[in-house]
């Protein structure tokens, strides 16, 4: 049975931002998910152009999707769509404020 987009999303909900205990989904970094047979496609953005954690995030995303049952290839497209604090989910915002990040 092939994987679904929901499977991909739940895998990515376990991938945390390298600095905060917030998933890349709640951070608003995932801009598209698709399954094509055994290939997962993800459109990924970052909080800034010069994000120092780019490689780490892309690798973590790739590893998490490869671990999904039915996926044996991952294509990460770095889309560099603009990101702002409005892209944070409600959950992400409450974690941030607990950590004292305005």
């Amino acid at each position: 049975m092939s994987a679904t987009v929901t499977d991909l999303e739940s895998a990515l909900r376990r991938v945390h931002d390298p600095e905060y205990p917030i998933s890349v989904v709640d951070m608003g970094l995932i801009r598209g998910l698709a399954v094509d047979g055994a290939t997962a496609r993800v459109r990924l953005t970052y909080t800034s152009m010069g994000c120092p954690c780019k490689e780490m995030i892309a690798d973590d995303v790739r590893d998490a999707l490869l671990a999904v049952h039915g996926i044996d290839a991952v294509e990460v497209e770095e889309v560099y769509e603009p990101w702002s604090h409005r892209d944070l989910s409600r959950r992400a915002r409450s974690t941030m404020s607990e950590l004292g990040v305005a």
């Binding site: 390298p18 600095e19 010069g50 120092p52 954690c53 780019k54 490689e55 780490m56 004292g100 990040v101």
Partner: protein, 311 residues
């Protein structure tokens, strides 16, 4: 407020929210601790940027630039708190003699290669994390405790950066040799970072005042408890192991030891030296001390000179 009243307040778990709620002795102890923390964070930035010149690709350079920027932010927190204690921070940062900076000697030894850069993230940032986490858990100073929440999250990224790169380099035979060479001097250097052994340093007062919670030897153990397994996982040799019987991490090399700072080599054959000898080396400071402090102070001094010229 008397010392006894203050100690009682701290022992009851109440936080101190400013110098006006503490004694001069407390403020002096806090001041010294904050200067060490601020200086260490500050000097790590030029030390890392120096090594980043040898980054293997542009993204790696950006990662280190991001890390250096975090470190400057952490230094700013410590200096900002010092300002609230009445310290002249401008003079402290920009006018102080390089030899009077209070960062550990480790940062006076220049980081040259990319392997040294990533081992610094894996080892030095881990040491910084152990020390700051101890302060976060045990500090009696409210403003610092709250500020450290963010610092810890960012240090976490630095550690992971070091660990990932150490794993990558360990998987390639040629790069692994470079990695091992860096670990060979930097492992012992980080052990030294934690300072005098408990047999030579009394911590009772610092702990009672809530400046720290663990002793130097305890913190050295905490550091080894994750640094040694990290190396073992990637088959990197380190002179330390876990002793089941005593349930402690044991150092398998002369410690403390003489260090050749030009060659970056420990003189294990020379055996154990005294801590007095080590303190003399620390006091002399190492080869990168002036260069790194000069980088921090250069712009300030240039500006001061041109303003004088304009007046």
């Amino acid at each position: 407020m008397t010392e006894d009243e203050l100690l009682e307040r701290i022992a009851s778990g109440k936080l101190i929210e400013g110098p006006e709620y503490a004694t001069d002795k407390y403020v002096e102890g806090l001041r010294r601790t904050l200067i060490v923390s601020g200086d260490t964070e500050l000097i790590s930035a030029p030390a890392y940027m120096r090594a980043a010149r040898n980054a293997p690709k542009i993204n790696s350079y950006i990662s280190v630039a991001g890390i250096a920027q975090d470190e400057l932010g952490h230094a700013h927190i410590a200096y900002r708190l010092l300002r609230d204690l009445g310290e002249d921070v401008e003079a402290l940062v920009y006018e102080r003699d390089p030899k009077d900076f209070r960062h550990p000697y480790a940062f006076d030894v220049p980081l040259d290669t990319w392997a040294e850069m990533v081992v610094a993230n894996g080892f030095y940032d881990r040491a910084g994390f152990c020390l700051l986490d101890d302060i976060f858990q045990n500090s009696s100073y409210g403003p610092w405790k709250r500020a450290l929440v963010k610092v810890e999250r960012e240090e976490n990224f630095h550690l992971r950066h070091g660990e990932r790169w150490m794993a990558t380099m360990a998987a390639d035979p040629e790069q692994k040799a470079e990695l091992q060479a860096a670990v060979d001097w930097m492992f012992m250097m980080t052990l030294e970072w934690f300072g005098l052994p408990d047999s030579m340093k009394r911590h009772g007062e610092q702990i009672a005042y809530g400046m720290k919670g663990s002793t130097n030897d305890e913190l050295r153990q905490t550091w080894m408890s994750t640094a040694v397994p990290l190396c073992e996982e990637h088959d990197i040799d380190v002179p330390a192991h876990y002793d089941e019987a005593s349930e402690t991490w044991v150092i398998d090399a002369p410690f403390p030891c003489a260090f050749d700072e030009e060659e970056k080599r420990w003189d294990f054959d020379g055996g154990e030296i005294s801590w007095e000898d080590v303190m003399q080396r620390w006091k002399r400071r190492g080869p990168a001390n002036e260069e790194l402090v000069e980088q921090i102070q250069r712009g300030y001094k240039q500006l001061a000179t041109s303003l004088e010229g304009a007046a």
